[in-house]
């Protein structure tokens, strides 16, 4: 059984101007110790999807569908189980390390709080564990860092501290919401490799959210491509790149720079802008921007189909699939 199983997730926000359909019909699963990448541009619903799992959405959000973690119904947790679930089972790394640490508290204090609360560790034991954690995320001189304040560390270091905080209670599932977007390009790769290494070493499942298909290519087992709050294509990572089907995935791939491209190659941006989520879609949300659009795309929502009759676990929602190079 998968560690996390999300089925037909839909999130609707009620606003003054009527409902906004942020996420619809999203399904995916994460195996124990596996990594999954959720890829999409701004407004594709990828953050809302994980926020709904983490109970971080405002009260105006209405959640439908089911999410089961290890047999538990995530959306209807018993209050007693809730604390353990969010503090111990599942942990989250936020996008911006500049705002995810409290500027007036020492690193050590912030690292040990959660452990002392959830595991009732003594101050000494928690500090020893904190040093261990900083070592784990490869921060040099960990004992000294514990006495420092966040402003004394660089952005990359701070994100390492945030990751260490997330690992404090040995989570079985780590959710990283664009963990490198706010960092320098040179530091991004280090942080991503760190997350990848930690997942393998600690046998922890990882949900990596990003807008960059390149980021998840070498670091995930499965990829879910989202657009307009819906899953466009989902497949094992290798299969997704070998047999890209959905025109949107193709478009994402060709908008990413590649070091092996010949000099002077032009990147192709995706024309148009993301769909207005306040309108319940009656057709493929990507149709207005799609270069392979057909009349059928504009008349009905494309059903989710499987490639190779389901053998590879490759699914897509498109009426005019484009197999192979485009």
């Amino acid at each position: 059984m998968a560690l996390l199983e999300v089925r037909d997730l839909a999130v609707t926000f009620s606003t003054a101007n009527g409902p906004v359909y942020a996420v619809s019909d999203v399904s995916f699963s994460v195996e124990r110790g596996a990594a999954i990448g959720i890829v999409g541009e701004s407004g594709s619903g990828k953050s809302v999807t994980v926020k709904s799992l983490m109970n971080l959405l405002p009260s105006s959000a209405k959640i439908d569908g089911t999410a089961t973690y290890d047999g538990l119904d995530v959306f209807n947790l018993e209050p007693s189980r809730r604390k353990h679930f969010y503090g111990v089972d599942v942990a989250m790394v936020f996008q911006n390390p500049m705002t995810s640490l409290n500027p007036v508290k020492r690193i050590g204090e912030q690292l040990t709080e959660g452990m002392r609360f959830h595991r009732k560790l003594s101050r000494g034991d928690a500090t020893a564990r904190a040093v261990e954690l900083l070592d784990l995320v490869r921060i040099p001189d960990p004992a000294k860092r514990l006495r420092q304040y966040p402003h004394e560390l660089s952005g990359g270091m701070r994100q390492r501290v945030v990751i260490a905080m997330a690992l404090a209670n040995d989570p079985a599932l780590l959710i990283a919401d664009e963990p490198t977007t706010a960092l320098d390009v040179t530091v991004q790769r280090d942080i991503l490799d760190l997350l990848d290494g930690l997942r393998r070493d600690l046998d922890m499942a990882l949900v990596l959210i990003t807008h960059d298909l390149g980021v998840v290519r070498d670091r995930t087992d499965d990829i879910v491509v989202m657009y307009g709050g819906r899953v466009m294509e989902g497949a094992p990572t290798e299969d997704l790149f070998a047999n890209t089907v959905h025109p949107y995935t193709h478009a994402l791939r060709s908008s990413i720079p590649n070091m092996s491209m010949p000099r002077g190659t032009r990147l192709s941006p995706i024309p148009g802008s993301p769909p207005d989520l306040a309108i319940a879609p009656t057709s493929c949300p990507f149709a207005p921007r799609c270069t392979h659009v057909t009349d059928a795309c504009r008349t009905a929502l494309p059903a989710t189909k499987t490639l190779d009759s389901g053998a590879s676990g490759h699914t897509y929602a498109c009426v005019n699939p484009q197999l192979g190079e485009v």
Binding site: T99, V104, K105, F117, S154, G214
Partner: protein
């Protein structure tokens, strides 16, 4: 794709030179001005045990006698010792300033932080009350309270304190809004922290720094406000304060001409105290604002 990148090293300043200590960043001016305020406070506290002339005893010196050895600040128009008057007067001026700001912070700070954190209807009501308070003519309110409720230290402090609630509360609310949306608050909540714990451990320490700067500025303003009330003869009844002293010495043009020192000494001390409070508050704000920018 990513695998074709050259390996890059993490360009990080792991051991950047440590920034100068906060004490140093605050600068000489800060320490001089807080030193002066400390001196004034210590003298006020020690007034009963200092070898001072009785401030109410007349004919200690000659009428409007100038400063001389043993009568350092000179004497006023009834021959009272101006130094003794100034030190005894500081007690009520400082006390009223302190209590007023305490009231402003206890009420305004608490309500402001709660409004910024819980938002919703409560926030709307609080913000409306703050705006209403701000639009009230300050002097009229103070006159109303002191004449209706009595001219005691407590009521004078309350009347000035009420005026402090809205500005303090608005700053507290704004600062809380800044931090309540930060991810470390979300992270604390995810880890199971209660609202109480988040407010006290995560938000309050962040809000306290800009607030402490405002406290110093506000105390200066409150001392001046007490002086204004005293000058209008509606501050503490029969109490010695700087404002009262200035009013006594400055109400007659002739006295002011013949012995300006009787008014100038309390004015000078009042001025320096308020200036020092303002400067110290400003420095705190500047140094810690810069810290925030580095984040």
């Amino acid at each position: 794709m990513a695998d074709t990148h050259e390996p890059v090293t993490e360009l990080e300043a792991v051991d950047a030179p440590p920034p100068p200590s906060i004490a140093k960043q605050l600068g000489l001016g800060f320490w001089l001005s807080s030193g002066f305020v400390a001196l004034v406070v210590v003298l006020a506290l020690l007034a009963p045990v200092l070898p001072l002339a009785d401030p109410n005893e007349t004919a200690i010196g000659g009428r409007l006698e100038g400063p001389r050895s043993g009568l350092w600040f000179g004497a006023d128009s009834t021959g009272r010792d101006v130094l003794s008057l100034t030190i005894w007067g500081s007690r009520i001026s400082l006390l009223v300033g302190f209590i007023a700001i305490l009231i402003g912070f206890a009420v305004g700070g608490t309500v402001g932080i709660a409004a910024g954190y819980f938002r919703g209807v409560f926030d709307k009501i609080v913000s409306f009350v703050f705006v209403t308070l701000l639009s009230f003519p300050a002097l009229i309110l103070a006159i109303l309270i002191t004449t209706l409720l009595g001219r005691t230290v407590a009521w004078v402090s309350v009347s000035i304190g009420i005026l402090a609630i809205a500005p303090v509360g608005r700053l507290a609310r704004a600062q809380t809004l800044v931090f309540a949306e930060r991810e470390f608050v979300t992270a604390a909540r995810l880890l199971g922290a209660s609202d109480r714990r988040i407010l006290l451990k995560e938000i309050l320490p962040n809000v306290v720094i800009p607030m402490s700067a405002l406290a110093l500025l506000g105390m200066g303003i409150a001392i001046v406000a007490e002086g204004t009330l005293a000058f209008l003869a509606i501050s503490v009844e029969d109490g010695l304060s700087w404002g009262r002293q200035i009013q006594d010495a400055g109400s007659s043009a002739r006295n002011l001409q013949n012995g300006p020192h009787a008014a100038l000494f309390p004015i000078g001390v009042l001025f320096l105290t308020v200036l020092s409070l303002n400067y110290a508050g400003d420095r705190i704000r500047e140094v810690f604002d810069a810290k925030e920018l580095q984040l």
